[in-house]
Chain length 138, copies 2
DNA sequence: CGTTTGACTTAGACAATGTCCATTGTAGGA
DNA sequence: TCCTACAATGGACATTGTCTAAGTCAAACG
């Protein structure tokens, strides 16, 4: 689990208590927290950590490619530590639950040249929407 | 072009100058304006229109299925009047330009049961990212 | 046509999310 | 241990969106 901390230190990232806490909070599969949620959990471990620091640190982790920004709903950005396996997202339209998914096929290949308008297309982002077992059962 | 206005009136929508202006602003292909941009253009035609009315009207158009909400960037929601032909979006990572695109294939079929976590999946949203001709040339 | 009525509009306060900056603190090297 | 550049802090500010109370108007009715 300190994989992340090791990698960061190896990249010359200056290690501080605050950064360690943020990195610890963002750990695991199917983790998609908002900045505020990250802050709340960080405060539980390190009460004096500030909002600005959480935002800064998240921004840096995104720049370093260690964490992905996800915008599945129109509210807050979410942060996804699963940056090293490419994946897409499945979102419950009712409760907002999010799962990482790995579809087969390559959507990039499905966009004909005539539909590219001269763009250099480099990336695709796919969001599946539906109801999770809980919400569908109700 | 008054297709939209006709349809709305037919549905018992009370027609006001403000609503007409908003509907007129949202007209055309590849139109993806933020609420603020809609407001700015509406004010040009009807100076006393208020922000709240623009938000209300956009929300109603979305509820009626006449306009789609698009969240390609993490900033503001955008409103897409092209609601009657299903499509996806191609976004310039630099300048934010957006084009409507129609990929071949069906991403829904590419999500195996084992990757559905018991969800009832009903919809997919695909966002291609890259550089538009202008930004790539620079 | 004039009245009437309830839906629509308005302005501005408020809320949620995110950014910026000047000041203070500290990790890690010499 | 001391220095210094980099990081953290807190609070002001910005952007986007929501809500409410009061005024206004579209359209149905006579």
């Amino acid at each position: 689990m300190s994989d992340l901390l090791e990698r960061l230190r190896g990249r010359g990232w200056r290690m501080t208590a605050q950064r360690r806490v943020v990195a610890e909070v963002l750990n695991g599969e199917h983790v998609h927290l908002t900045a505020d949620e990250v802050h709340a959990r960080a405060v539980a471990k390190l009460p004096e950590i500030s909002r600005a620091t959480v935002y800064n640190t998240l921004g840096e982790l995104v720049s370093l490619g260690e964490v992905l920004e996800v915008t599945t709903d129109k509210r807050a950005k979410r942060y996804d530590p699963n940056a090293h396996r490419p994946h897409h997202h499945l979102v419950c339209a009712r409760c907002g639950a999010i799962r990482d998914v790995h579809p087969t096929g390559n959507p990039l290949a499905d966009l004909p040249d005539t539909e590219r308008f001269g763009f250099t297309v480099s990336d695709v982002e796919v969001t599946y929407r539906g109801l999770c077992p809980n919400c569908a059962g109700a």
